[in-house]
């Protein structure tokens, strides 16, 4: 099958995701009036980690945890259409729909959670329980937004929604604004940056689930995170911003979206877990309800 296409997609996601991560560090530094690392610092970190040799492990689940994480990122990447009209990136676009996507996205964190659990570090397990709790929080407005656009266009597939936008000529962001707002608010939780960084909580949990990992383990987790960040942004572009015809448009749109969690994180401090959950069940859920109302009435 189209193995080459899959590899190219993966490499693109890896490079873009890593660069965005580096830019995040740079922008954060400039906001805090520091010079900050160069934007390619994440690549340096990643290759340093990849070249390191691990001396210890905590058992089979810990060893395979990062692989579970990667499965989820890569399969999600294969499902989400990267460009609208391209021979290179069709992969699994027509084989799964949005509900499938929601579930495959949770595959990785759960596998990772098992790995983190086996290390026996209490901080890891606390981070996992917080992460799962927060996920229940932000999935509600996110699913509401998705249900709203699904019933508006009578399709549950991503390609179907993109086709609907192309046909009507407007982006879903404008035709169902409430769904867009709810989804964007949910995205803040999905990225897990401050104020929703309850999982890694650097000053409290010592980076949580990742804390017993180094070398190749950490490299795999880091690259999976970068790929996943790219996939999430691309998914939002596909769903609400009409998709992208070429890579330049994709980069502009995804970067613009990426700035929302980055800038929001720089102006806020961490919530407690229950505050974070309640936050998502407040205004974001209200907008989600409005979105469903709009979809039902109009």
């Amino acid at each position: 099958m189209n193995i080459l296409g899959a590899v190219v997609t993966f490499l693109l996601a890896f490079v873009v995701g890593m660069t965005y991560g580096g830019l995040n560090r740079k922008i954060t530094a400039r906001i805090q009036n520091r010079k900050g690392p160069p934007f390619y610092q994440n690549f340096i970190d990643a290759f340093k980690l990849a070249s390191k040799k691990s001396a210890i492990h905590h058992g089979a689940m810990h060893h395979l945890g990062p692989a579970f994480l990667m499965v989820s990122s890569v399969v999600t990447l294969m499902i989400v259409p990267v460009l609208t009209h391209s021979q290179w990136f069709p992969n699994l676009n027509f084989q799964g729909d949005l509900i499938f996507l929601l579930y495959i996205m949770t595959f990785g964190p759960l596998g990772m959670a098992l790995g983190a659990g086996q290390t026996g570090n209490p901080n890891s397990a606390i981070g996992v329980t917080r992460g799962l709790s927060q996920m229940v929080g932000f999935e509600i407005p996110w699913v509401m937004a998705l249900v709203a656009i699904m019933i508006q266009y009578h399709t549950t597939s991503i390609t179907g929604l993109m086709a609907a936008q192309a046909q009507s000529g407007t982006w879903l962001m404008f035709s169902s604004p409430f769904a867009f707002i709810a989804a964007i608010l949910a995205m803040l939780g999905m990225f897990g940056y401050s104020p929703f960084d309850v999982v890694i909580a650097p000053a409290e949990l010592a980076s949580g689930p990742a804390s017993e990992n180094g070398g190749k383990y950490l490299f795999t987790m880091m690259s999976s995170g970068s790929v996943f960040a790219f996939v999430k942004l691309t998914l939002y572009v596909d769903l609400f911003l009409g998709g992208a015809d070429n890579i330049i448009m994709l980069l502009i749109k995804t970067f613009a979206l990426y700035m929302i969690p980055v800038l929001y994180s720089n102006t806020s401090v961490r919530y407690r877990t229950e505050q974070s959950i309640r936050w998502f069940w407040g205004w974001p859920t209200f907008f989600g309800l409005l979105a469903i109302l709009q979809a039902v009435i109009f």
Binding site: A55, A67, F68, Y103, L110, G117, G120, N121, I140, E274
Partner: protein, 615 residues
């Protein structure tokens, strides 16, 4: 003699012979027990033909038994899970007291479930329903703990359900003069409106009790956790499905015929959704694995009820597919809990931790079933969940889908709690002696786990009998239209093609597993869970780093308002009120002969005084 009669004879005779064989030899008893479960199962699938009714006349009433595609599908659950649990029981019950009592009730319980499925008339349906209640009650009180509270609670609810059903049967007979289920369904649209409302409600009380539906579920957590785990896997996996079977066969086909039926369905679907949400929240709160799984069963049955109550083709497929999946994964999980209980003596998460390296096969079975429970691809649970969501969305149940989605996302929390509580976390010296469970217990668990894995990619194996059963009930054939051997579709034509997805998952996983292990796993050495970076310090041997108390505290704080009220308390209130009423009655009925003599005397005096007024 017909094959169905032979099967019931083997069940019944086997139960009695097994009970007494314990006096001769324990091994003989085990063998006889296996024979009396496995042989009828084999005979049923090999020799019983569809659509041929056999009758047996007892006291002037002919009891009619027969099998159609729909009951055949449920027999698959009962006999499949029953056989697995029977094999598991041999290991679980080894060295325990009163094996004969357990085996006797186990076999009769399987027999009564088969009886319910094969009954074509309400009389035998009711008789088998009662046998099922009795046998499950007797096994629930097997351990002898807290019989007053747990046993009686279960029995009172079952009795209320059974009398409601009996009342409905009498009403149907009075109105139509028949005991046949088929006739009852035919005559239903011609009844008066009040009967059309009351008969389904009365039946629903009976089925709702067994299917642990809100607000009739309060017996379930106690009863499920108090029965021996070998039976609880059947109790939660198969016996609760009898409620679902009843709901489908009597309610959905009956109320479908009148226009007001949609209201009935909507209420039922919402009850299912609320059951799912609240069951999940309470499951997260439990610190005992048995209780956690019991509440989780209540929640999962909620999804199934929602599915069958929506009643479109896709929703029915979803509900029944989830019923099969629930039998598989909850059966396995209760077996896992039983294995842990047998090896360590406790099922409390606060006591036992870090068993993964001691019980790897049990962990594998638990992992597979947890993934299936959470509905994550590529295991079978996903197929059921996907169909349920799609059916809710395509049938315009927008808020219900959010509720269902909430409970199934929150389910991840207790899934993780279960796995972490038993198998992950700090390894403690206290449990260093623990060994893997015996093979006779491990093999059924792992087999069921593998079957779930296969169903995740080829759901057609189970969807085919479901579809045949639904066609028997009058639904449209949905083959190729909603499902194929490994493709699932929704009403709008959107699809999930499971096979390539599985290949991708395997390919990526294998690639990165090799990447991580390359020059890695062999040369790296295993270090214990004490050798960790605890804020830069190396923790001492005796330092306690176990994390299990208050496991999901932040989440529980966030949802605290929803859990403040407890239906159990209302029932306790009612029970206390009744008790004081009975206390008053006792003042009247003192049991003292002299008091009764005074009553008689007063009565005579009253009659004499008011003779003219009264007569």
């Amino acid at each position: 003699m017909e094959m169905i009669h032979i099967i019931f004879l083997i069940f019944f005779g086997g139960a009695i012979i097994t009970y007494f064989a314990g006096k001769v030899s324990k091994v003989l008893q085990d063998i006889l027990f296996l024979i009396s479960v496995l042989v009828p199962a084999y005979l049923f699938f090999a020799y019983v033909s569809m659509g041929k009714d056999v009758s047996l006349t007892l006291g002037g009433i002919s009891l009619i038994w027969g099998v159609n595609h729909f009951s055949w599908f449920f027999s698959l659950i009962v006999l499949g899970l029953g056989s697995m649990a029977a094999i598991y029981s041999l290991g679980f019950m080894k060295g325990k007291e009163r094996k004969g009592y357990f085996y006797f009730n186990f076999i009769l319980s399987i027999m009564s479930m088969m009886g319910i499925l094969l009954s074509q008339d309400l009389i035998s349906f009711f008789i088998f329903w009662e046998i099922m209640t009795w046998t499950s009650y007797l096994i629930t009180i097997y351990s002898g703990n807290d019989i007053q509270r747990i046993g009686i609670k279960y029995f009172v609810f079952s009795a209320i359900g059974a009398y409601a059903m009996l009342m409905a049967i009498v009403m149907v007979h009075h109105l139509s003069g028949t005991f046949l289920i088929g006739d009852m369904i035919k005559i239903y649209p011609h009844m008066s409106l009040s009967m059309q409302i009351w008969i389904p409600i009365l039946f629903l009380m009976a089925f709702g009790v067994k299917a642990a539906m809100m607000p009739l579920h309060v017996w379930a957590p106690d009863a499920y956790s108090n029965a021996p785990m070998a039976y609880t896997s059947v109790f939660s996996g198969a016996l609760s499905k009898m409620g679902i079977y009843g709901m489908v066969i009597i309610l959905v086909t009956m109320t479908n015929q009148i226009p007001q039926g949609t209201w009935f369905r909507e209420i039922l679907a919402w009850l299912g959704g609320i059951t799912a949400a609240l069951g999940t929240l309470w499951a997260i709160r439990q610190d005992d694995a048995k209780k956690l799984l019991a509440y989780s069963s209540v929640a999962q049955l909620g999804y199934i009820i929602t599915g069958i109550a929506i009643g479109t083709e896709l929703a029915m497929l979803a509900g029944l597919f989830l019923a099969v999946m629930h039998a598989l994964f909850k059966g396995t999980l209760f077996m896992v809990t039983g294995a842990v209980e047998k090896q360590t003596g406790t099922t409390n998460f606060n006591e036992v931790t870090g068993l993964i390296r001691k019980m790897p096969w049990t962990f594998l079975a638990a992992l597979l079933s947890i993934i299936a429970l959470a509905g994550i691809p590529p295991l079978g649970g996903f197929v059921g969940k996907w169909m349920l969501y799609e059916s809710l969305i395509t049938s315009n149940h927008y808020l219900l889908v959010i509720l269902v989605f909430f409970s199934s996302t929150a389910a991840f929390l207790y899934c993780y709690k279960f796995l972490f509580g038993f198998f992950l976390g700090q390894e403690e010296k206290e449990w260093s002696h623990v060994k893997e469970a015996p093979a006779v217990m491990v093999v059924p668990m792992v087999l069921m786990g593998l079957f779930m894995f296969v169903l995740g990619t080829f759901p057609g194996i189970v969807l085919k009998p479901i579809n045949n059963g639904l066609v028997d009930l009058g639904f449209v054939d949905s083959f190729k239209h909603l499902w194929n051997s490994s493709i699932i579709l929704n009403g709008w034509g959107n699809q999930v093609v499971l096979q390539p997805i599985l290949y991708y998952i395997i390919a990526v996983f294998v690639f990165f597993a090799i990447f991580l292990s390359w020059k890695g796993f062999r040369t790296t050495r295993y270090v214990t869970t004490k050798d960790i970076s605890s804020s830069g310090e190396v923790p001492a041997e005796d330092e306690n780093l176990t994390f299990s108390v208050g496991f999901m505290q932040p989440f529980l704080r966030a949802v605290a308002p929803a859990m403040r009220r407890q239906i159990d308390k209302y029932y306790t209130g009612i029970a206390e009120g009744l008790e004081s009423l009975f206390e008053f009655m006792r003042k009247v009925y003192t049991g003292n002969g002299q008091t009764y003599a005074i009553y008689v005397f007063i009565f005579v005096v009253v009659v004499l005084l008011f003779k003219n007024v009264l007569f």
